[in-house]
């Protein structure tokens, strides 16, 4: 099958059974790959009660048809499961070089179930797949584990967990190529619960695309669009030069830089941790994911002071917020060091930093006995390790802010910044209404990357006019709730395609270079699936994936009441800056979003819409369980 490796690897760790199955053409066509494909398996393999850390919960490493080809960027993969942090659909993505290697070893996806009796790692070498002992690797950090496996398998790409995953920290990451994290939703804990330390892949396979001449032309066109003319130059000047770090300055300007556990959107010392500071003080070398034309990654190094000698692939914007502004910490070197520790121990930087920020506020308000001061670098660094090793108060934080808040009571719950149990990424709906909606409705919890709109955030006037000729002005109004339901639903569909191909959000959101007509050509030249020559069919495909993920969550009890925001964003007006006085009025946006998505006003998938999208069986099952009605 063009674009695909054509096979799926099923690994039952308990029975030590490895089975290779064909990727059926019908399934590939219906769900494309990536999160679409993973959602189809999660729907079939789990039910309303599947415990995330049980043997039944599948952990799925998945690629899409574009991965391993030359289309920029080609290095991504996703890992999906029921999340132990949120209890619902979990998905996490990483770049680097691991995804293509899975395909070169002959597989589009690896579906892992069961729990191994011994500590093991999965080696995919050439066409072979085998479980090898990880007794000597257990307890090692991510950097050591990767090095050891590479000694055994030179040239392999390694995805592994660190101590945090072994200790089932609810927001443990899976690290690939050492410094790239599939960070969100605790996929590392699922891996740890299976006694699976790593997956290493080294392949000699080749990927054949449907129309290689057209595909090569499209690659060249993409490269030009990423580097030349208005948007290409914009991408190189921002992402190419600064990575995501220059967002610190951009968000400060619109008053949306999460500060002091998301209390405000203004950080006085923003320039000490922003893009310019990073460039001047710690950025040493530009790096990139496989086949990328934007090339936003960089190596950071600390030259002097107590963290001198630290070297890591550098903090992204999200990490600068999580360990910087959100903790009132203006010491860039300590942020780089905390990032390094998270990479090494296998922790999501967002959830880790935000948990610590939460602890700082709890301490300030006297809701815990520990003294953890705002901006206390020493306490921060210690807590990162304590979380990974579940020591002392770190053990409490390792359960995530929702669980800790529930233990402490309603006052603490007001300060807990999460949605559905996922600690919030670095945005604030009060200053950017559409992101408020995005956080509320995201299928994996308080996350921006399922449907963030940069049209309003970064002011892409021309693109807004192109996509919404009548309503561009309203769409672009950052602080108006109007039409944001429609905008966010479209973004969610758009990114469901991006996450199934799998390509990157950069170039699709910032700047907005690619859209449905581009995906249509890309999917067709890659796979030869005729129907996707039409952009509207690509859109339907995206809708199908969005609704299937939503159905997985509905089955687990998610309704409108869960599509909400932290107390602060709904009830405490933004205290300062351009968005001073604003809160998020969620209800109007939710109604509009549900209508656009094809959900009832209660936030559940409509039977009718499921049927239109080819998900009748899903609808029947939800109806049978009395979750939805087949009348709707």
């Amino acid at each position: 099958m063009y674009g695909y490796a054509g096979k799926i690897l099923f690994v039952d760790l308990g029975k030590e059974k490895i089975v290779v199955k064909k990727l059926e053409r019908a399934r590939a066509k219906k769900y494309l790959g990536g999160v679409g494909l993973a959602a189809s398996f999660i729907w079939e393999m789990t039910d309303a009660g599947t415990d995330p850390l049980s043997t039944e919960n599948p952990l799925i490493f998945v690629t899409g048809p574009v991965n391993g080809t030359g289309f920029p960027p080609t290095g991504r993969f996703a890992v999906c499961s029921i999340s132990p942090l949120t209890g619902i659909w979990g998905e996490s993505h990483a770049g680097g070089f691991f995804g293509p290697q899975i395909k070169y070893t002959g597989f589009d996806a690896i579906v892992v179930t069961g729990r191994s009796n011994e500590k093991v790692y999965l080696a995919l070498d050439g066409g072979k797949a085998e479980l090898r002992s990880a007794r000597n690797l257990w307890g090692l950090d991510v950097l050591e584990t990767t090095d050891r496996i590479r000694e055994e398998m030179p040239g392999s790409e390694v995805a592994c967990i660190g101590p945090a995953g072994e200790n089932l920290v609810k927001f443990a990451s899976i690290q690939v190529c050492k410094y790239r994290a599939a960070g969100r939703t605790g996929m590392g804990a699922v891996m740890g619960s299976k006694n699976l330390k790593a997956v290493a892949a080294r392949g000699v396979g080749e990927i054949e695309v449907y129309d290689v001449d057209k595909f090569v032309d499209l690659v060249e066109e993409a490269r030009r669009r990423y580097t030349e003319e208005r948007w290409g130059i914009a991408a190189q000047e921002s992402l190419g030069k600064y990575g995501t770090t220059s967002l610190v300055e951009a968000e400060q300007e619109i008053g949306r830089l999460p500060t002091k556990n998301h209390t405000t959107g203004i950080f006085r010392d923003f320039d000490k941790i922003g893009g310019e500071a990073v460039r001047k003080l710690v950025r040493k070398k530009r790096k990139a994911c496989m086949g990328c034309a934007i090339q936003c990654k960089y190596v950071a190094m600390i030259d002097s002071g107590e963290f001198a000698g630290t070297i890591t692939e550098g903090p992204e914007y999200e990490t600068l917020v999580a360990f910087g502004s959100d903790e009132l910490n203006s010491r860039l070197d300590s942020i780089v060091y905390a990032n390094y520790l998270c990479n090494k121990l296998g922790l999501d930087t967002i959830s880790t930093g935000k948990s610590i920020a939460f602890a700082m506020e709890l301490s300030e308000k006297g809701l815990i006995s520990q003294s953890i001061k705002w901006g206390d670098v020493e306490a921060m660094v210690k807590l990162v390790s304590d979380i990974a090793y579940r020591r002392g108060f770190g053990n409490e934080l390792a359960e995530g802010v929702r669980n800790l808040a529930a233990k402490l009571g309603p006052e603490a719950e007001k300060l807990a910044v999460h949605v559905k149990g996922l600690e919030m990424s670095g945005q604030d709906g009060r200053a950017h209404k559409s992101i408020g909606l995005t956080h509320a409705i995201s299928v994996r919890g308080a996350d921006h990357l399922r449907s963030i709109s940069c049209l309003d955030e970064l002011g892409y006037v021309d693109i807004a006019k192109e996509r919404y000729p009548e309503d561009a002005k309203v769409i672009l109004d950052l602080r108006s709730e109007k039409l944001k339901g429609i905008l966010v639903a479209d973004m969610e569909t758009n990114y469901a395609i991006v996450d199934s191909l799998i390509i990157c959000k950069y170039g699709t959101m910032w700047p907005p270079i690619f859209y449905y007509p581009d995906y249509a050509r890309l999917i067709y030249y890659t796979t030869g699936f005729e129907e996707y020559q039409k952009p509207e069919n690509v859109q339907t495909l995206g809708d199908r994936i969005c609704m299937l993920r939503r159905a997985i969550n509905a089955r687990r009890g998610i309704t409108r009441k869960d599509d909400t925001l932290p107390y602060k964003q709904l009830h405490e007006p933004m205290p300062e800056g351009p968005a001073k006085g604003e809160v998020v009025h969620l209800d109007v946006m939710l109604d509009e979003f549900y209508d656009a998505r094809g959900c009832t006003r209660d936030g559940k998938p409509r039977y009718r819409r499921l049927k239109e999208l080819g998900l009748k069986q899903v609808g029947d099952e939800l109806a049978k369980a009395n979750i939805i009605s087949s009348e709707n």
Partner: protein
């Protein structure tokens, strides 16, 4: 920007600029095989550590060691290029050992040597390299 249109007789390397993205390898593979892979590329990228990544490709030497080593007469100097005639190659790997730069690879799949042919003077890898590490 170095000119991308003039016919190349050599690929120059500026390893400081290399980000390790492997776009060059993918472009090379698809040009020569019609498929995407890293195993069939004639250029590759060695990751030494976080800070050092080195692209490696044939230098098209004036006095090629590989040519001297090849007893099948499969490697010839044609103008400024060093050309491998894949039909004559017996897969003995003498050239792989002889090249002082390690710029020839052996393909398990083809059971033959893999070597850069400069794409008729318009190397695909150069077109793919965003930071200009090869030119």
């Amino acid at each position: 920007m170095p000119s991308k249109t003039k016919r190349k007789t050599r690929i120059m390397i500026d390893k400081e600029k290399c980000t390790g993205c492997k776009a060059c390898m993918l472009a090379c593979a698809v040009k020569h095989t019609g498929r995407y892979s890293t195993s069939m590329a004639r250029i590759w990228v060695n990751e030494i550590d976080e800070m050092v990544v080195v692209p490696n490709v044939c230098r098209h030497c004036v006095a090629p060691a590989c040519m001297r080593a090849c007893s099948a007469g499969a490697i010839k100097k044609e103008g400024e290029l060093v050309v491998l005639d894949i039909k004559k190659c017996t897969g003995c790997r003498a050239c792989v050992d002889a090249c002082p730069f390690g710029a020839i690879k052996y393909s398990e799949k083809l059971k033959k040597a893999l070597k850069c042919d400069l794409c008729d003077g318009e190397p695909e890898c150069i077109k793919a390299c965003i930071p200009g590490a090869i030119y």
